[in-house]
């Protein structure tokens, strides 16, 4: 049953697409396990309309998302197949000096147990190249936020204060010495580890305009530019999401950090890429 993780309420057409897609993905290689997400109307914490203080629901097209973040083991296979992404060879414009800094060498992980932990210390360029190699791309912020709004039972658990607190409690803890292996509990879509493990790159991280504390609300300098509608966060209680956006907005595409990994996404067949 290829669509085993798909909720029973899917529209018939999406189910069919998911089934087709899952068959096609079976050949994509070990670990490249994707799950199809149905499209839907979604209210982002970032305003999507013309009014900076109010959000307008947007339509998310159906897409497929990796069930787990890319692991160090998977990334090792990638740099072995694509030596130009080994840390000794990667051009400085594509990855900073901390790129894969925790590895023993360009082709050796920190320790044998690291292979099923999420890969971190990767730049946006490297993450994008990895997803290319899997016939995929990085998810957009909206796709990521849409998938991550779900808890184990609900597709949108964001209004639940307890769920918010649970997410927030990870965000405020210092980095653990060792990251946990991928494969936490699946959310309502069957996607794992969206919270509580690592930050994740998104394709359009550079377009995240954020001033969460409203210190720059209505600043005329900012409003001159494109994307000016997005300078504000609508739901000011979403500290957890806010912190993720703040982290992403602090980065350049060559930057890496010890807690930042990624996962890949794919368009479903029959939808624009």
């Amino acid at each position: 049953m290829p669509a085993r993780n798909a909720p029973m309420t899917w529209p018939r057409r999406a189910l069919g697409v998911a089934a087709l897609l899952a068959c096609g993905l079976a050949a994509a290689g070990p670990g490249a396990d994707y799950v199809a997400l149905p499209g839907g109307r979604f209210e982002s914490v970032l305003p999507q309309g013309n009014v900076p203080s109010a959000t307008v629901p947007v339509d998310i097209a159906p897409f497929a998302l990796r069930k787990t973040p890319v692991t160090a083991g998977e990334f090792l296979a990638f740099v072995q197949a694509n030596p130009q992404w080994q840390r000794e060879r990667v051009p400085a414009v594509f990855a900073d000096k901390r790129y894969l800094i925790d590895w023993r060498s360009g082709t050796q992980l920190a320790d044998p147990g690291a292979s099923s932990r999420p890969v971190t210390n990767v730049s946006w360029f490297a993450a994008k190249a990895y997803c290319d190699s899997e016939g995929a791309r990085l998810p957009t912020w909206l796709e990521w936020e849409y998938a991550a709004a779900a808890d184990e039972a609900r597709r949108d658990a964001r209004a639940d204060p307890q769920w918010r607190r649970r997410i927030l409690s990870w965000y405020e803890r210092p980095n653990a010495a060792l990251l946990p292996d991928v494969g936490g509990a699946p959310n309502a879509y069957g996607v794992r580890d969206l919270h509580g493990t690592v930050w994740e790159w998104v394709d359009d991280f550079n377009a995240l305009f954020i001033a969460g504390d409203s210190r720059t609300q209505g600043d005329p300098d900012t409003l001159k530019f494109c994307g000016a509608g997005a300078i504000n966060i609508v739901d000011r209680d979403s500290y957890a999401v806010l912190m993720r956006i703040a982290l992403l907005s602090s980065l350049g595409a060559a930057d890496t950090t010890s807690n930042l990994g990624f996962r890949c996404a794919r368009p479903l067949e029959g939808t624009p890429p």
């Binding site: 305009f209 954020i210 504390d213 530019f225 982290l247």
Partner: protein, 498 residues
Amino acid sequence: MNIHVIAKALQRSALLVGLAAAMAAPPLAGAAGKAGPGDFGPPRGAPIRAVLTSPPHVPPPVARNYPAKVIVELEVVEKEMQISEGVNYTFWTFGGTVPGSFIRVRQGDTVEFHLKNHPGSKMPHNIDLHGVTGPGGGAASSFTAPGHESQFTFKALNEGIYVYHCATAPVGMHVANGMYGLILVEPPNGLPKVDHEYYVMQGDFYTTGKYREKGNQPFDMEKAIDERPTYVLFNGAEGALTGDKALKAKVNETVRLFIGNGGPNLVSSFHVIGAIFDEVRFEGGTNVQTNVQTTLIPAGGAAIAKFRTRVPGSYVMVDHSIFRAFNKGALAIMKVDGNEDKAIYSGKELDAVYLGDRAGPNLNAVTKATASSASGTLSLQDQIHAGEALFAGTCSVCHQANGAGLPGVFPPLAKSDYLNADPKRAMDVVLRGLTGKLKVNGADYDSVMPPMNQLNDDEVANILTYVLNSWGNVGGQISTEDVKKHRATAAPVAAAAH
């Protein structure tokens, strides 16, 4: 690629603009150069690495008469520390402490600021220094991802004491986790010399658990938004400035406190119990207020308070919104050692029973008896009236107002065979107490009467004269002289002898 770079640049500049007008101090009248107030021209000499100190310590005075280039390197570290005994909290720090490292420069200095975000950090951070003239106070220029470093440069145009803090979204949370500190911009000629300088900074903290609930306590977003702190603390932890860590000084020394308030929410009513600030540069500004009891320190503000220690002892610093001091931790202590100066403060001179309303109406009689005794005209009636008033306050609780005592517990004084057998012995009982088995009017007693040391000779004489002349007792008179004699010689009464 290009679009990304442009977008990023726009975003960074957009991030934290517009606050400077509200937060950075307006230019004060300072030493004016051609380039404007506080600008003494380009930096001279070799660049100087700033000395940073952890609280409660303050770097030494700048002691320099020219503007220099000063390099400040500050590292952001996210770490778990104790917020109270047995209670851990994840603090985000400038330099590993709460408040962050103290920075000291001279007005007119060019400060090259390096903000380093530790590779182990989970969060991006930045710094907004209220001593900076420019958008965001440096925040947009210092936005730094984990494992990275930012650099920006500013000229310290305005002298004074300024708060710095992190301004990364969500700002309130970064501040609530301890991301604030002080930067002192010394006037060109420095500050007057004092014996001690200390660094104290208040902050409010929000944990999901209650005050002093043990274990790891996470940040509570709702409490923070509602402005209901679990802790209000000086220097980031309960006990940070008490016990062995109390601030220290000797008598007749001058102490300068740099007091900041990081907030994020509360305003501080800063007060040192038992001291008066000789001078306060309130709000960190140039004006000096003198003879201040309590100074208001706004969130995101600071003050410089100076006072001279005169009397030894422990001086408790509090936020005088006083429940914060005793129920949320806002307590610090300055321990002053040295010789007493009784002319300024005596210590306790009297520890006496206060009769209150109970004897109030009749205390006139006591006053009259004291006066009569002094003038040698004390009559038996004076003594009885005074004794009645004093008896009501001191003795009637046990022996009862009618002298009947309580059967089996407190012996009677009315028609007391024990009393009337030897009235003089009653003086020894009052002065030395009486303990153990005793038979009075045929009933057995075995209890304790403590010595009534607090009564003076006059009072004992009057009480006993009143007792002897009441309730069918033998009568007679006990004089102050009698009591004085007995006080000098009497031994404890042995109950068993009777």
